[in-house]
Symmetry: C2
Subunit: 639 residues, 2 copies
């Protein structure tokens, strides 16, 4: 009989899956490129635009600088890709930044990497979804006012899909990526062909930069900030090195080749978009993405334009989806290492790390809501964590090579070292230039997360030491007294008394007297009932039921009359929410009152309204003696 | 050691009071007039204005009709007062409409009266507070935008004061009433003197009504609706007859005299205000009350004007306060009769009916918030319930006289009958003329409340019949099996096992196997521990902890191995909110899983982090036999 809630869960998330269904599909290079590169390649959708958004204070002259800046970023991308190529060979089972940093640099750098990764996964979802929705609202401007709603709906959809448990189903995931690759190639080739044919009418005419150019501090800062924003193109580069284990054999070799292809694709699209923006004279505008403007100008707004917008949207949703795999996986690793609550380490009914998925969706929706689903407001927070992870991961690799002394360790260490230094510099530029534009939030939050991870670890550590049990045999109580609060002779009270006499020989019924008139009547009825359990009447001048009860139990233990007290409370279990409103939650209050008293146990004996208590046999109280068990106490060992 | 919450409660509400502090102060006529008339007399603050608000579609000609309409209402007031005078003598202990209607007319009329009263008490608070705040914002127009906030603050203040428990402290309550009476007399006398002196310059010149006048349906309807709104002046008239018990002896005689004085005062002030409004040519305006306009014109805006405004405010707060005594009292009577949840029948720490007070405040604040604290939007809902109660109460009195056949019963029954018919007619006029102006809400809500009262009564009725226990001796269980879910050998587990062996001889430790590797290790450790309790290992292919446990218990009972099963769960009690987040709520989940299974009891044995379990003595498991109790099981009867 599944409850309505269970049935609802089944419809939404599907039936539970058995643990042995947790197998791993191995990916060939083509599907791996599609599955693992969506995060990186999708950056094309916003990277050029973010660079120009900074430079736009220079007016159309901004377009002079976008291509050189993009070229520098592509250079950095090549360096980082070469650096990660080495990680692939060194960690063939998958080397996430947390693992690499923890193994080689120690606990604290590992935690910094973990905190940076957690924030970045959340931002991957917020940025990708808001940018994906922007691709749709660019095509249909009437949807602009509903941006936040559409973003939240997309995040919720991803959450539900991931709670159902997605297998990394290569084919379904390949389609959007390859459609996007095809349409982007078409865009760049057509666009450049029209540039060379000289048929382009640029939206803005790009003025020549005055010789010598403006070179003050403000200008340098502006260029650096544009560069920092453009670096968002590199987010997702590490995905392939994290997922080496998913490749077909020879895994490392296949992963390295795929990484090269991914970097080449990303570089081409990014520099291509920047060149087209330069020649078509396109500057960022409100409510339409730069890629959408380019699409309209190059394709003329026909079917190909809509293909571009939908493919961009689909790819960005896939990019967000990668975070839905990565965040819960990292959370479960951190949870098993004792840095996150235990609830994050268990797989749910559908083999997904449900709590991690829900937490990610909640944080991402919070960010989208706070920033009104505005990609360019979210971007300044992004990329910082990514570059911190790049730096830590590559620094870790330097230590790895120095320790391993493998053939060629010197130049390998030098390459990773160069990568580490370059990305460290970029990290500093990121924080320095974007600090007042939102980067301060990340600078504040990463240490807070680290403190939290450490505090959680300390708690579990203390707890494990405290509960460790080394005694050979358990301890034992000498005298067990059972207290049954009664308010009249009713079936629930009788049930509680029966239970009480089953678990101890010292049972006392306790009545808290609020009104002396009714207690005289109860005493009379009790004497007549004559079940061999004494009735204790406690005065309550302040009308409280709990306080006299607590004092009585405290006195019992203080006087040494009992070293273990069980309070047995009849608990009315109504059939409906309506009934719940009409019965005092006495059992709950009594449990709360005693929860901090050692050696006091509160037991609620449920009385189900409308369902008779099933009893095997009836017995008069006179025969109330312990029955010898006629059923042997076997170990029903199912294993 | 009071908890922080307890300390906060003590500061806000004071120390608990003993039950014997519940004494009753008897009132003399002067203080009784002050205490029991505030609700009635304060109606002057809005009654004339409401009449004019309806008529204002006629322009300044409206002022021609306000005095005649007021005169009719005063006539009705005299009739109702005479009628209630008889109730005072017939019910010297206080005859509320619920009691009178239930006793004489039966259950259903009683419930109608109860529902009407409950809505009217809520409206008394909403209307009085919003009208009182209007008196203040009339004097200080800058406060107008904060109306709702001020109203809510006033309701919360009344709630806290009443939760502390107000004694009907005559002197403190008399001051605002007598100040208001004095300033109103001053207003009327000064105002009329200036009228007769001919020095008044009316704000609006009142045009002569054309002979014959407009007499169509629309005009008649308008006049009737103005009358219906003006009837709000009569709310609160019943207060004295409800409170006869509070008067000094001879109670009935004193109460009757006070009622006469109250009716005379109310009539004078109401007709006086209407006459002044007529002669000063005052029409309702936004953001200033009619009484405030009158005050400015008569007193010229000096000190006396501010005295009038503050006295009006204070009296209206007192009027709201009477509902804070009446609503909880009626709720507790209904609760004891089984028509409202039990929680309403108990007096709290400070002898006040806390739940009723809180419920009233919440409903009143909800209404204020929904109607933006606008008195004239709330008024159409008001008075309907009052007139329904007048009618039922007087109809009840007719039956009372017919049954009693006391001397003079005929003319007494006739007088009450006349009152009943008149107020019944007014009730119909109220509903008919104000239906689309909000009265439909009341017409809808009263039956809903009646249905709810009846449903609650049915529930308690069924419950009482179901739990009634008539057997002479309680029943008994034959075989009690205790299950202890374990996940390793730790101190909390050991504590739970000790408890389990204390309450039964058939104890089984159960381990739910999610990962086969760890269970092999646990088996080894368990064998080594050797405490004489079998370890049962249950497979869990779906990783659920609960489902295998529930199935195991179901099997035990289905196979007849046990007729009572107790599941003993170690419950980690963290010291801080932080710790609560980090521990799975296993005990809670297990309790929920079994709550609907008869004959299964779940017991949580608390393990307090950071506090060692206090044990009287240690014992090796080999000696695990029931110890003879060395302490006699006395009845510690404190009564």
């Amino acid at each position: 009989m599944p409850t309505p809630l269970t049935r609802f869960k089944r419809i939404l998330f599907g039936r539970p899956l058995a643990s042995d269904r947790l197998e791993h599909e191995r990916l060939n290079k083509k599907t791996a490129l599609a599955v693992l590169s969506s995060d990186a390649i999708s950056s094309v959708a916003y990277a050029t635009e973010q660079t120009l958004l900074v430079l736009v204070v220079l007016g159309a002259a901004a377009l002079n600088y976008v291509v050189p800046i993009s070229a520098v970023i592509v250079g950095l991308l090549v360096l980082v890709a070469l650096s990660y190529r080495q990680t692939i060979y060194a960690y063939p089972s998958g080397g996430g930044s947390y693992t690499v940093a923890k193994d080689n640099l120690g606990r604290m750098p590992g935690l910094v990497a973990a905190a940076a990764l957690l924030t970045d996964y959340i931002l991957t979802v917020s940025v990708s979804i808001s940018s994906g929705i922007a691709a749709i609202t660019s095509a249909y401007p009437r949807l602009v006012p509903h941006t936040v709603l559409l973003c939240v709906a997309a995040v919720l959809l991803l959450m539900v899909i991931n709670l159902r448990g997605v297998r990394e189903s290569g084919i379904a995931f390949s389609v959007p990526t390859y459609v996007f690759i095809a349409i982007m190639l078409a865009l760049i080739v057509t666009g450049l062909a029209r540039v060379f044919a000289g048929t382009v009418v640029p939206r803005h005419v790009v003025p020549a930069v005055p010789h010598g150019g403006p070179l003050g501090f403000a200008f340098t800062f502006l260029i650096l900030r544009a560069f920092a924003e453009g670096c968002v193109a590199m987010t997702g580069t590490e995905a392939i090195s994290n997922g080496v284990g998913a490749f077909k054999k020879p895994s490392a070799r296949n992963a390295a080749t795929t990484l090269a292809w991914m970097a080449a694709t990303l570089a081409t699209f990014f520099i291509g978009t920047s060149i087209l923006a330069r020649h078509y004279g396109i500057l960022p505008v409100a409510n339409e993405t730069l890629l959408s403007q380019l699409g309209r100008d190059v394709f003329g707004g026909g079917v190909l334009y809509y293909v571009l917008q939908y493919a961009t949207f689909a790819l960005l949703v896939l990019a967000a989806n990668t975070a839905f795999a990565d965040f819960p996986r990292l959370s479960s690793i951190l949870s098993r290492d004792g840095y996150m609550p235990r609830q994050f380490s268990a797989r749910g009914d559908r083999l997904a790390f449900s709590n991690g998925i829900i937490a990610l969706a909640l944080f991402a929706m919070l960010l989208i809501w706070l920033f009104h689903g505005d990609t360019s407001a979210l971007i300044p927070l992004y990329a910082i964590g990514v570059f911190v992870c790049f730096t830590l991961s590559q620094a870790g690799m330097v230590v790895h090579w120095i320790r391993s002394r493998e053939p060629g360790w010197r130049w390998r260490a030098a390459l990773n070292g160069l990568g580490a230094v370059a990305t460290a510099l970029v990290s500093i530029v990121q924080v320095a230039t974007k600090f007042t534009h939102g980067a301060w939030i990340v600078v504040l939050i990463i240490p807070v997360i680290i403190l939290m991870l450490r505090r959680i670890h300390r708690h579990y550590d203390h707890f494990a030491r405290e509960v460790a049990y080394n005694g050979q045999a358990p301890l034992m109580f000498l005298h067990h007294t059972v207290i049954v609060p009664v308010n009249g002779i009713t079936k629930p009270t009788a049930g509680a008394l029966v239970y009480a006499t089953t678990i101890s020989e010292d049972v006392r019924a306790v009545y808290v007297e609020v009104d002396p008139d009714t207690s005289a009547e109860l005493r009379r009825q009790w004497a007549e009932w004559d079940i061999g359990v004494d009735l204790v009447v406690l005065e309550s001048p302040y009308r409280s039921i709990l306080r006299p009860l607590v004092s009585y139990v405290d006195e019992l233990t203080a006087r040494g009359e009992a070293d273990l007290v069980t309070v047995v409370v009849p608990e009315i279990v109504p059939r409906s929410w309506f009934g719940h409103l009409l019965h005092n939650k006495t059992a709950l209050f009594i449990r709360t009152a005693f929860v901090f008293r050692p050696n006091v146990v509160v037991t609620a004996v449920p009385y189900l309204i409308g369902r008779a208590v099933r009893l095997r046999d009836l017995m008069a109280h006179d025969e109330l003696v312990e029955q010898p068990s006629d059923i042997p106490t076997n170990s029903v060992d199912a294993a």
